[in-house]
């Protein structure tokens, strides 16, 4: 049952409430048989129903409960029209004397969705409408109110006064009332178990029913019980309203939701707070099994418990995202759910993009490291081949030449001996050059000892005073160590070849996860004269996600500064 209502209808209902309420209060007061507290209580109950109903109608437009509550309030007032001395109003009041009962029952059984679910509640409500509206209307023409009670005005619908018929009708109504009451009790108990969120409302309904039953059954307690019943009745619309207000969005919650967009947050926790349900869980649609996947705080899959409901909050690329609530959301402001859904979608998409970016970055990083590793492995292989192959062979050849030269010395062919000696000398020089070349390709000390020993060995060979400032460094992954070493080696070579420096300072430093390499000389300050050596190294450093900067100022010297991350995943060893 979809009910839509314009603002005008709501205003009309409100105005009707005011008119009827005032009329009823005035009539009750004028009647004289009702004490003041009773007038106040019944008027309040009606007014509260009208107000709560209007409030609910504004908040949840599609839900018929709001208008139903207004009607209950109007009916409560209308029932008092029979107190009027005006025959027309009096007669109208007779027709609607019991009209609030079916409306209240309808409201209780339809609350909070506004729908009567199942045949039994529908039948109950229909039966009550018949018993409380149709039967009294049928009986009305057969009671001569003015004749029976001198203070009453004329019954304008009177046909004939038939006390026997009307007594029978009253008995029928009472019997129907008993059967309906039993049915209602069963229906309420079933709702009690199915919808825990409704319990406060149901308690009110049951308390009211109990009070009225006690009042009807035990004559002496009538006054007290009926008063309690009326108080309970007042509280009932208040309970509805409180429930609605409690679930109303607070500015702070919405702000928190928006702040969630900025960084990483516990979305579940935040939604639980915003939607007022601590047990809230977030679910994702599994397109494969075409089911919802709900996880608890530990990420374990959970099935939904009875009484829980799934609310779709947002649609993401992977399908809908939903929340499981233990609480009833019928009375929630749909705008809150919508806002929550928007935030969930944005956060989820943001997170997904972030994850994708991270994955891409990690992949690029891995590729860079792999390339550097590959190049290093190749250099290492070449170095080993030179050392173990060519260099050793050359040493053996040089040795042979020396031995031949020694023999010639003893046998006396000085010219040939001289030739052999100079050839051997040339070979020796070639061996030294080869050794330096191999070491420059990939220093063994780097593989075996790490960065500091390798740099120390490099400095020992450098024909320049080089000062090394370094803490004890741990071992890093080979690409990091090799790159750092080559930066130092290239900077020192440049200082030697191009800048005319007389001293060099090498500083190695490690902060949380980055290795800082700084090589400063006191030369003429070379920026681009360093050639492709430093440029190639900058590529290498970038491949490891680091950066390299060269500063050159005449008179101040050249400073090469490189930073290489050594943190995860580079220091996996």
């Amino acid at each position: 049952m979809g009910v839509t209502h314009s603002r005008a209808v709501l205003w009309g209902l409100g105005a009707a409430g005011v008119v009827l309420g005032t009329t009823a209060a005035v009539l009750k007061a004028a009647d004289g048989s009702h004490p003041v507290p009773d007038v106040v209580l019944t008027t309040s109950a009606g007014a509260l129903f009208v107000a709560a109903g209007l409030f609910a109608a504004v908040r949840v437009r599609a839900n018929p409960c709001g208008p139903l509550m207004v009607l209950v309030g109007l009916a409560l007032f209308a029932e008092d029209l029979q107190l009027s001395q005006d025959p027309v109003v009096f007669t109208a009041g007779l027709l609607v004397a019991h009209v609030s009962t079916p409306l209240v029952l309808h409201l209780v059984l339809a609350f909070p969705d506004g729908r009567l679910e199942g045949r039994a509640p529908r039948a109950l409500v229909a039966a009550t409408y018949i018993a409380a509206v149709v039967l009294p209307a049928v009986g009305t023409p057969f009671v001569d109110w003015a004749g029976r009670f001198p203070a009453k005005p004329d019954n304008l619908l009177l046909i004939v006064d038939a006390p026997g018929f009307t007594t029978g009708l009253l008995w029928t109504m009472n019997a129907c009332g008993l059967v309906i009451a039993a049915g209602v009790l069963v229906a309420l108990l079933r709702r009690w178990r199915a919808r825990p969120a409704l319990r406060p409302v149901l308690v009110m309904a049951l308390a009211g029913a109990a009070c009225s039953a006690v009042a009807a059954a035990i004559e002496p307690t009538y006054a007290v019980a009926i008063a309690a019943y009326k108080v309970a009745f007042c509280l009932w619309p208040l309970t509805f309203t409180l429930g609605i207000v409690r679930t109303a969005p607070r500015a702070a919650d919405l702000t928190n939701l928006l702040l969630a967009l900025r960084g990483e947050v516990d979305l579940r926790e935040l939604l639980a707070r915003t939607l007022h349900d601590r047990s809230l869980r977030l679910g994702e649609w599994d397109p494969v099994t075409r089911t919802w996947q709900f996880r608890d705080e530990n990420g374990e899959l959970v099935t939904s418990a009875p009484g829980e409901r799934t609310v779709t909050l947002a649609w993401s690329e992977n399908g809908p995202i939903a929340a499981v609530l233990r609480r009833d959301t019928t009375w929630d402001d749909p705008r809150v759910l919508e806002a929550a859904g928007t935030v969930v979608r944005l956060v989820t998409e943001h997170q997904r993009k972030l994850d994708a970016d991270r994955a891409r970055l990690a992949e690029a990083r891995r590729t860079g490291v792999r390339l550097v590793e590959l190049a290093d492995a190749e250099r290492q292989r070449v170095e080993r081949d030179l050392h173990d192959g060519a260099q050793q062979r050359l040493v053996v050849v040089a040795l042979g030449l020396r031995m031949a030269q020694q023999r010639l010395d003893t046998r006396g062919d000085p010219e040939l001996a001289e030739l052999l000696a100079s050839t051997a000398d040339g070979l020796d020089a070639a061996i030294v050059e080869l050794r330096d070349l191999a070491r420059g390709i990939h220093p063994v000390a780097l593989t075996q000892g790490g960065l500091v020993p390798a740099v120390t060995a490099l400095i020992e060979r450098t024909p320049l005073p080089v000062e090394l400032a370094s803490p004890t460094l741990p071992r890093f992954l080979p690409p990091v160590e090799a790159t750092a070493y080559f930066v130092v080696a290239e900077a020192i070579t440049n200082a030697l070849k191009h800048s005319g420096a007389t001293s060099v300072t090498v500083t190695l430093d490690l902060d949380a996860d980055r290795l800082h390499i700084r090589v400063c000389d006191n030369g003429i300050g070379v920026l681009n004269g360093s050639g492709s050596g430093i440029a190639g190294l900058a590529d290498r450093v970038r491949a490891l996600e680091g950066h390299l900067r060269v500063e050159g100022n005449s008179g101040v010297g050249t400073a090469v500064h490189a930073t290489i991350p050594v943190g995860d995943p580079l220091c996996a060893t």
């Binding site: 040493v395 040795l399 050794r435 000390a445 000892g449």
Partner: protein, 228 residues
Amino acid sequence: MRDLTVVLTDDAALFREALAGVLGRAGFRIRAQLGDAAAARAAIAEHRPDLAVFDIRLPPTHTLEGLVAAAEIRESHPDTGVLVLSQHLETRLLRMLVRSSSRGVGYLLKERVTGIQDFVDAARRVATGGCAFDPEVVRALTRGDPLGRLSEREHEILSLIAQGRSNMAICEQLRLTKKTVESHVRSILLRLDLHPQPDDHRRVLAVLEYLRPWSEEAYRLALPPPRT
């Protein structure tokens, strides 16, 4: 004087044969030629040679197996002189070799073999309990003398001391009088704040120790990383 015995360990057979030729011709008796450290240990335990020559790189990892084996031999066979040959020299490795004494130990570049006589002299010194450190080691060590405390001549003499030469040998090589050399040596030790030592070997050790103050940490860092 009996012939000095020697065990050679190098996985490069060509070079090992050439080395055996040089030492054999110089009067050494080659007891065994081996290609890896395990075999070398067994052979040295069996022959108890005067001299064990190791290539610093040996199978299986070709990193420092030869050096590690040499250091062990120095512990277990103090009478065997140990000579380590390397394609290139690193001062950080000296500590492993020269732990408590510089007796019967040498560390030379492989290519020194071609300076046949010098090499044979060095081998003989090590075999008879002396020491022989490559001139490059000393150059590398003293290059870092930032205060410039030593004169050129003193550097030269210090280098020869580290190579294991006696004062007498230094006199001959530099064509100086014994007195001059002795006064230079005293001056070197004084400038380096070292107490004069009567023993040549301890003198060498003291110089090496002074020039490169090793720490246990530096020693550990010099070891190859554990392979996984």
